[in-house]
């Protein structure tokens, strides 16, 4: 043992003591806030779901009636599907997915589709598009995202599902065409996916593990 050993021991002990106290404090605050944080996240989810599917149209707790996407087809990044039911009859489904080809990475979307295949509502959950240009897909910046409500895909060759610049029916933004193009494309694909898998989507047992 060198002469330094006592000093090293003492410092190590003090450091350890501080580490323990600090970690304990953080742990305590975590325990205190844990439930509230979970509640906040849940309420946020409910708010988002209610924005896309009117809450009077269903009587089930949508955020608990959900499935992990059973089949992922052509490039769709479907995450979770929430089902809306009224008296146990399927009304609509809200699909959480992402447009992979935004200007700056994924654009996370919540796309709600009615049982008849028409769009009930779309909301942007998360994106990294350019502020001031591409961020008009947010509801608080522009009402563009609400224009999807009520739209239908008529058939495979329905070429209205594009931005106006490409001959479609949705506005593009000045200086940003890639962003709306990506959103329109994903909404359309999701509608197609929904129509093709409607049975599976509504009949699969709820399995997304939301705590009751």
């Amino acid at each position: 043992m060198s002469a330094l050993a006592p000093a090293i021991n003492k410092n190590a002990l003090i450091l350890m003591l501080f580490a323990v106290v600090c970690t304990a404090t953080v742990g305590l605050v975590h325990l205190m806030t844990k439930d509230n944080i979970e509640l906040q996240a849940q309420q946020q989810l409910i708010r988002q779901l209610n924005q896309t599917i009117d809450e009077n149209r269903h009587d089930n707790e949508m955020f608990r009636d959900c499935i992990i996407a059973p089949i992922n087809n052509d490039g769709l990044k479907i995450d979770v599907i929430y089902r809306a039911r009224m008296n146990n009859l399927a009304i609509a489904a809200a699909i959480k997915t992402a447009a992979p080809d935004g200007y700056n990475g994924n654009i996370e979307l919540l796309i709600a589709i009615n049982n008849d295949g028409s769009v009930s509502g779309v909301r942007t959950l998360l994106h990294k598009e350019t502020p001031g240009l591409g961020d008009k897909i947010e509801l608080r910046k522009s009402d563009w995202i609400t224009k999807f409500a009520g739209k239908k895909v008529h058939d495979e060759n329905d070429n209205r599902w594009a931005v106006i610049k490409d001959g479609g029916m949705f506005d593009q933004f000045t200086g940003a065409t890639i962003t709306p193009r990506a959103v329109v494309k994903t909404v359309r694909k999701t509608v197609d996916y929904f129509k093709a898998n409607q049975e599976v989507i509504f009949n699969t047992e709820s399995n997304c593990g939301a705590k009751s």
Partner: protein
């Protein structure tokens, strides 16, 4: 009397002479990144101020038990613990603001202003003065954030207090002021380069005022034009 002048000096240092945002230029990363609106600036400013006060008090409280050799890791531990707590609390009680401030909350840990004050002031002074120093330094930082946020928000989207409800609850939606109508946002002001430019003008403005003051009092000229950089000892 002596105590009184000490507090006055601390306030003067924090708010103006040695302002962490304008003079020490510490914590530039969050300063430039989140000041696109007043509300974001206010949120991060308050969070930083809170951490600064808490960490100053804690560091000052333990200053007699901390050996010099390991003081830095201990300061970092204390600061990191407070930041994590603030983050958890904001997540629990101001969820929307927490989401819009995003990654910049944990970045408070790396805000050099905080460890700078811990090392330069709190570790050598009693708790009361240290907490006051934290308050003043935090307030100085907060003011710079808010002014910068105000300039960028007015130039960028023509509003003030947009999204105040995220911070203060739904009643605050009415606080939103539309200064003028913009068809499309002025991008430069919103993106980081705009923050750099606005920041440059703020610093230049401060220097102009300092020079004016110095000219008004020619006798104290030498003291007044002394450029105060990262002046921890004062």
């Amino acid at each position: 009397m002596k105590i009184d002048s000490e507090y006055r000096e601390l306030a003067w240092q924090g708010l103006w002479k040695n302002n962490p945002g304008l003079v020490q230029l510490l914590g530039l990363c969050p300063l430039l990144a989140v000041t696109s609106t007043v509300v974001n600036a206010l949120g991060l400013g308050i969070a930083t101020m809170f951490v600064l006060i808490c960490s100053n008090v804690a560091v000052s409280g333990v200053r007699n038990w901390v050996p010099k050799e390991i003081r830095i890791p201990i300061f970092v531990l204390i600061i990191a613990a407070f930041v994590t707590c603030v983050q958890l609390l904001m997540n629990a009680y101001t969820y929307d603001l927490y989401q819009s401030l995003g990654i910049f909350l944990p970045l408070i840990v790396t805000n050099c202003a905080i460890i700078g004050r811990a090392e330069a002031y709190a570790s050598k002074n009693p708790m009361l003065q240290a907490s006051f120093d934290g308050l003043m330094m935090g307030l100085g930082f907060l003011l710079v954030l808010v002014v910068l946020g105000g300039i960028r928000e007015i130039l960028g989207q023509g509003t003030l207090f947009d999204g105040a409800n995220l911070l203060l609850g739904s009643w605050a939606t009415e606080l939103r002021v539309e200064v003028y109508k913009l068809d499309s946002q002025f991008l430069l002001a919103i993106l980081p380069p705009g923050a750099f430019i606005a920041m440059g003008f703020l610093i230049a403005g401060k220097n102009v005022i300092d020079n004016k003051i110095a000219q008004a009092k020619p006798k104290q000229l030498e003291q007044a034009i002394e450029r105060v950089r990262v002046n921890f000892e004062s």
